[in-house]
Each structure stands twice: as C-alpha cells, then as structure tokens.
C-alpha cells in the first residue's frame, strides 16, 4: 500500500497533466462549432473591454486613412442625393410617404477585435443588443461587404466575416446580372471565391461583383470585389472565380450594421411558403 502511495506521489505530475489536457479537450469539443461558441460570448465581456482600451490608442495611428475613406464615402453619398440630380423632363419626382417606406437603416460601429490569418476569422464590434443589434444583420464597411452578425451581448457583437469557412453570401456580376455564391477557402485574406456561375456566361478579368440582395441580409449592390482569375473543373459546367475583395479586411475600422425592416415579414412569408409545400 505504501509503495502505491509512493508511486502516486512520484508521478503526481502525470495525473495533473492528464487532468489539464482533458480539461482543454472538453473546452475544445464544446467550442469547436463557431456558431455555438460559448467562448465568444464569455470572452466578450472581458476581452471586449480590454481590446476597446487598446484600440482607442491604436485609433490615432489610422486617423488619416480613416478620414480619407469617410470623405470618399461622403462624396459618393452626396452624389446620390436628390439635390445632385437635375430633372430633364416635365414629370415631377414626388417624394411620397405612401410610396416610399424605409427598408434599410444603418448603425455605425467600430471594430474592436479583428483577425484575418486564421482559417475561421471573426470580428468584434462595439455595438450590441442595447443598440438594437441582433444576429443575422448584415455588416458592411465603407469599402464593401464585411459579414453577418452571429452573436450580440449587451455592448458588443461578433461578426462572421467573409473570411470564414461557413460564410456564404449571394452575389451577382453587375455586367450580366448572373448570380453566384461568395465563399472563402482559407489562405490569403485579399481573395475569395465565387462559385455556381455557369460557364455558359462569358466573364472577363476585373468584372465587378456586388451583393445580389437575394438573401434577406444585404441590400442589393453592396460592393464585393473584382474578378481576378477564372478556372472551371472539367465537366462541372460551373466557374470557380477568384475574386479580389474590395474590403481590406486587415484594415477594418468603421463598419455599418444594416437593419432590414422587412426581414421579419420576409422570413414569415418564407416559412409559410415552405409549410405550404410540405402539405
């Protein structure tokens, strides 16, 4: 008996080792699914605040570039104002509340944590439930598409960017209006892939790709990127398009969260339709 205790005492570190490793593995198995990650939410409160502080210092270094980006965006938005258009014909453009109802509204937020070198990246922003952010809202930057909100706590929210293996967004080519799906296969954060475009369409390098507006999340026409190169598997009939992303994911700072006011209605209609098919 004594020798057993002596043995246990001599190799106590092995048991501690095994215990710690089992702990780590339980942690991994509980959090391996990004969508259900408890760590993301648990880390939000502590890590979010720390990163917020660090980021507020880092902000000063990017001010110049940020200003230029925002100024460029302001210019673009001004160009779209009604006052920037001249009426050519006699018909009057009547702005009528019964004709136009606001469909999308935008909330400005700042990125407090960002990653782009992993296989599955995520972004944390400094707006949460109390600012009206809920999962599934679309997120864009002044340059273009960013991703979709997956979790929101009171003050922070996490975003699944395009740079995630589960990310899938509906996009289209502006020139031909052909629809495809934007996915990311890992690797370089500057490029993503568009699949499901039939090879019967002719594509060219630098063709513009924007969001299609078919999914409920993104409005139509949000900038995605440009065609970089094309390939197609033999006999598949579909292109594998390499896309140069417009958004510089390593330099994200200000983003906008898009609230689709008709999402609830669209979703319930879709559910109704699917139920009808089952019957």
């Amino acid at each position: 008996m004594e020798s057993l205790f002596a043995f246990l005492k001599k190799f106590d570190y092995v048991f501690v080792f095994l215990l710690l490793e089992i702990g780590a593995l339980v942690f991994i198995s509980q959090n391996s699914n990004y969508q259900g990650s408890k760590l993301v939410s648990a880390g939000n409160a502590v890590a979010g605040r720390c990163y917020g502080t660090v980021h507020s210092v880092g902000d000063y270094f990017g001010l110049r570039r940020e200003n230029e980006l925002l100024a460029a965006e302001n210019a673009r938005l001004r160009a779209e104002l009604e006052s920037s258009y001249m009426h050519y014909d006699r018909r009057q453009f009547v702005h009528n509340d019964t004709v136009y109802r606001q469909r999308y509204s935008y909330t400005e937020a700042q990125v407090v944590k960002n990653s782009w070198s992993q296989q599955n990246n995520y972004i944390m922003i400094n707006k949460g439930r109390i600012h009206g952010i809920v999962p599934d809202m679309a997120v864009i930057s002044p340059q273009g598409i960013v991703g979709v909100v997956v979790h929101a706590t009171a003050n922070f929210a996490t975003v699944m960017p395009v740079l995630h293996s589960n990310s899938r967004n509906s996009v289209k080519l502006t020139r031909t209006s052909t629809n495809g799906s934007l996915v990311w296969e890992g690797g370089d954060f500057r490029y993503a892939t568009v699949v499901d475009i039939p090879t019967t369409y002719k594509l060219y390098k630098n063709d513009t790709i924007v969001t299609s507006g078919m999914a409920n999340d993104f409005p139509e026409g949000v900038m995605v990127g440009f065609v970089e190169s094309l390939s197609s598997a033999q006999g598949s009939g579909f292109y594998n398009v390499k896309v140069r992303l417009a958004t510089e994911f390593n330099k994200l700072d200000h983003v906008y969260i898009i609230d689709n006011h008709f999402k609830a209605e669209q979703d319930s209609l879709m559910r109704l339709t699917q139920k009808g098919e089952e019957r």
Binding site: D12, Y13, V16, A24, S115, S117, G186
Partner: protein, 170 residues
C-alpha cells in the same frame, strides 16, 4: 531567489502581451503563425516543480486562447509542451548532469544544444496545435505546411530574442 521569481513573472506577462497584442496580427501568407509566448514556459528554471510548471503552461495557453478566441488549442498544446519539457527538455538542457539552470538561455547553455532544445520543443507545440486545428477544419497539406513553416518561424524568432538578451544573466 526572489529576483528569479520576479523575472519569470515579468517575462511571462511581457511575452503573453506581445503574443496577444502584436504577434497574433502578424500576417505571413496565411501559413505561418509565430508562437513566441511559449518561450515563457521554455525559459522557466530547470529545478522548478513539475506540477507548477504544468499549471503555468496551462495558464499561458488559456490566456492566449481567451484573447484570441480560439477554443482551447493553445491551452492543450502548451500543457503538452510543458509535459514534454519535463520528460525530455530538462535532460536536453543539462545533458544529464546534476546541475540546476536558473535561466535557460543562450548565455547559460551552449548554443547548439540550446537551439536544438528550442527546435524540438517548438516542433512538439506546432504539431499539436495544427493537428488540433486540422481535426476541426481538415486540410492535410495546408496543415503540414503550416506546421513546418510555423515551427521554423517561431524558432528563428526565439533565437533572435535570445541574441537580444543582456549578457549579465550569465
């Protein structure tokens, strides 16, 4: 003795901060990740208790995991690293002689021996880390390439850090 404890705590904090705030943003073509913070475990005194060493490694890995939002990969790999260090690493440092090395570094251990020690330990870490990642994402060649390149990058970075150390620690 007190200075030694303080120095180890300071090194731990500085390396973890460096890892969280700077190195996790180092982008190297998507293949390589420099894990410099494991130096905090590799430079612990050889006479340190086995259980405390495991706990320190666990804490280091857990901190990096929480701040990088990675589900336990660092925690697992870092604890494994400490275990391998207990089994083999200490013997590589002392060459089996009954001596204690307070600060295992380039000034207290012959260069070739120390570089070899760092390389083997880093390899253990990277293999564990990228195997875990591959179980979740599964791309074999990508994993193998990441494993090798990360090992080399981390190793070189650690050696550079060693060369920057002040000599008075001899």
């Amino acid at each position: 003795m007190k200075n030694l404890v303080l120095a180890n705590i300071l090194r731990f904090v500085v390396l973890i901060l460096l890892q969280i705030l700077l190195l996790n943003y180092a982008y190297m073509g998507g293949y390589m990740l420099p894990f410099l913070y494991i130096l905090a475990v590799l430079m612990l005194p050889t006479r340190m208790g086995k259980v405390p060493m495991l706990l320190v490694a666990f804490a280091a890995g857990a901190l990096v995991d929480i701040f990088c939002n990675i589900p336990g990969f660092h925690t697992f790999s870092c604890t494994l690293l400490a275990f391998v260090r207990i089994l083999v690493g200490n013997r590589m440092l002392t060459r089996g002689e009954p001596v204690d090395i307070d600060v295992p570094c380039i000034h207290t251990v012959p260069f070739q021996q120390f570089a070899g020690y760092l390389f083997v330990m880093t390899l253990v870490y990277c293999v564990a880390y990228f195997l875990l990642e591959a179980f979740s994402f599964g791309n074999f060649w990508w994993m193998l390439l990441s494993m090798l390149l990360s090992t080399v990058v981390t190793w070189l970075l650690m050696l550079v850090c060693q060369l920057l150390l002040p000599k008075k620690q001899r």
